[in-house]
């Protein structure tokens, strides 16, 4: 186990005008499972590769257990990495793939045999130890890659989108295996993915990145429910948070949200009730809206998308230029064109500055 700390870490590639990673501050605690999440090109893999020692650091400091390792080569960092492509040595058997790193570190032959056999048994790879990687299925290769990392018992595990080449069913089961592995080993793990489900289910904390910068760090449900900006709000969740142009109005002492042609009063107890009047982006998750019979927002059903476990309704609100998504029960009896009344749970809503995109009433902040 180890503490990994990045202080103002920046990476600029030769000839590049913009840094690929810019001023990343991140501390990963002993035994923590940290997920770096973001879209393609956001710098998460580059950050991971800098931690691994596979990319040089242009500026900033990288520490493991308070030891600065900016210039320590990858082979001396006591780190193991699982690659997206698995990176198994094609000319070696499963046994040799797993033993390769141990041989370099001077373990005795019996010790290597014992470690490899133990890890292989744990991962169900015992019968395949003498096979070459090309004679294994995708899932088996993935487990060999995991085994190669585990057998080393490193200080830090790094995962670079290790599940992205698996089919949906295998991905779900392997995700569970990874979670159990983290519980059993208790090791510090850093996991890169663009898949929010992996991030939400695996991470103790999530670090969301965009355009080479950290946008928000926090526990999965905190990040989900209180996004720091409209990028996080739109990136997390499927379907994502509704981001609707709105205006905060103050009439006397009471606040209200104007959504197109309609007005939603804000109770005085709500977090947004102290906001100044003016335009905002109103963010509300699809599951925090409900079709009701009581007096509330009017809407017209635009589309109905049954997904099996639930139904996603697309709603047109009068005077609002974009449609809002609502997560309804699977047996909802509505059709396109129906007029409905919709309630929003304002306690869970977020408000964003339309100019900067930053949250106005978010309880979490960057670096939390």
């Amino acid at each position: 186990m180890a503490v990994v700390e990045l202080i103002g870490v920046t990476k600029t590639y030769p000839g590049g005008t913009q840094p690929a990673v810019q001023g990343v501050d991140l501390r990963i605690e002993h035994g923590e499972f940290m997920v770096l999440l973001g879209p393609s090109g956001c710098g998460k893999s580059t950050t991971l590769r800098m931690i691994a020692g596979l990319e040089s650091i242009t500026a900033g400091t990288l520490c493991i257990d308070d030891l600065v390792i900016n210039r320590v080569p990858a082979r001396d960092r006591d780190i193991a990495m699982v690659f997206q492509s698995y990176a198994l040595y094609p000319h070696m058997s499963v046994r040799d793939n797993m033993a390769f790193g141990l041989r370099r570190r001077g373990f005795s032959r019996p010790d290597i045999e014992r470690r490899v056999a133990s890890v292989a048994d744990g991962l169900g790879l015992g019968p395949y130890l003498d096979r070459r990687p090309f004679a294994l299925s995708g899932g088996q290769r993935q487990r060999v890659a995991l085994g190669r990392a585990i057998v080393r018992e490193p200080k830090v595990f790094l995962f670079d989108e290790p599940l992205s080449n698996l089919d949906a069913a295998l991905r779900t089961s392997t995700r569970g295996e990874l979670a159990r592995l983290h519980q059993n080993l208790g090791a510090t793990m850093i996991y890169v993915t663009h898949d929010q489900v992996e991030a939400m289910t695996l991470g103790d904390r999530i670090c969301i990145m965009s355009s080479g910068k950290v946008v928000q760090i926090g526990r999965p449900m905190d990040v989900y429910s209180r996004p720091a900006d409209i990028f996080v709000a739109g990136f997390l969740g499927s379907p994502p948070m509704n981001l609707l142009p709105a205006t905060i109005e103050v009439d006397g002492g009471s606040h209200a949200i104007r959504l197109g042609d309609q007005r939603v009063p804000i109770p005085a107890t709500m977090p947004a009730s102290d906001m100044r009047p003016g335009p905002v982006i109103f963010g509300i998750r699809p599951e925090d809206m409900a079709v009701v019979t009581a007096d509330s927002l009017e809407a017209q059903v635009a589309t109905v998308a049954p997904l099996g476990a639930e139904t996603i309704l697309s709603l047109a609100l009068p005077g609002v230029p974009q449609e809002a998504l609502l997560r309804a029960a699977r047996d909802v009896a509505l059709r396109p064109g129906d007029h409905v009344r919709v309630a929003c749970d304002l306690a869970t809503a977020s408000f964003f500055d339309p100019d900067t995109g930053r949250a106005l009433s978010s309880r979490l902040s960057v670096g939390a």
Binding site: R75, I79, A87, L88, P90, G101, R105, A135
Partner: protein
């Protein structure tokens, strides 16, 4: 099952049989000639070797210094191919894997030497070898062969190394290995199909190389097989039978190399295909 499938299969067999006959008949004819005397050949060029003169192989090997030429060829060609393979693979690995200033310029400089016919270099090479007292030495010929085949070897291997995923090398770095060990333990084995190709091509080309061998070697004791065979072709007469026998002796190592390395080559390619 219709009529078309057996017909198509039959046509394919006929086409393959014709091609095999076209490709193999010169080899078979030389083999037949190698078992006949020159007198028999002039009397009936297309006759069968009845009776076969197997003793001609012993005559050529012992009586016409073929053993010396053969061993010279083995020493020169195998040394040159070994050096070309190792040095070429190292150069290709560096050019494909490491981004350094002048990488592409160096690559195109090496590549550009393929444009020139090797004959244009022969006078310069002749003078250089004399200058360094390497003229009429096997080491001199080996160095010339290395310089001749290095560009094409680097070209073939560089394009192969470039396609090997860089994750493999990163994984080996994280496993704790240095760049040199990674070359020997990862790059070379992974590139084995391409390396087999270059070994086959270079061995065949150099085994049959004539021009540089005849210009840069003057002593009979240092001649290679292609020059040795020339002994049977004089101004006044050609000993066609012995030339054929010499050719058969010369072919054996090339066929052996091809059989051994092509099997490895196919193994490597199959492994990649299944993957």
């Amino acid at each position: 099952m219709g009529f078309g499938r057996p017909l198509g299969r039959g046509l394919l067999i006929v086409a393959l049989a014709l091609y095999t006959a076209f490709a193999a008949s010169p080899f078979v004819w030389v083999f037949v000639l190698s078992l006949r005397t020159t007198t028999e050949i002039y009397a009936d060029p297309y006759g069968l070797p009845l009776p076969p003169h197997f003793g001609k192989f012993a005559d050529a090997w012992l009586g016409s210094s073929y053993d010396v030429y053969f061993m010279n060829s083995v020493a020169v060609v195998f040394s040159a191919v070994a050096i070309v393979t190792v040095v070429g693979a190292m150069a290709a690995h560096c050019l494909a894997r490491y981004q350094f200033r002048g990488n592409r310029a160096l690559y195109f400089l090496i590549f550009s030497t393929l444009i020139f016919p090797p004959q244009v270099t022969i006078i310069a090479l002749f003078q250089i070898l004399i200058e360094y007292q390497l003229f009429d030495t096997r080491i001199g010929l080996i160095l010339v062969y290395v310089s001749l085949q290095l560009p094409i070897t680097v070209y073939i291997l560089e394009s192969f190394f470039r396609r090997v995923p860089s994750d493999l090398f990163d994984a080996a770095r994280i496993d704790g290995y240095s760049e040199v060990v990674i070359f020997w333990r990862i790059s070379l084995p992974v590139a084995w199909p391409a390396i087999s190709t270059t070994i086959i091509v270079n061995t065949i080309l150099l085994w049959n190389e004539f021009l540089f061998a005849i210009v840069l070697i003057s002593s009979d004791s240092k001649r290679t097989l292609p020059i040795g065979i020339l002994k049977f072709m004089g101004d006044q007469s050609n000993d066609v039978g012995m030339v054929a026998t010499g050719l058969m002796i010369a072919i054996v190592p090339v066929v052996a190399i091809y059989v051994f390395f092509s099997e490895k080559l196919i193994q490597g390619m199959t492994a990649g295909a299944v993957k």
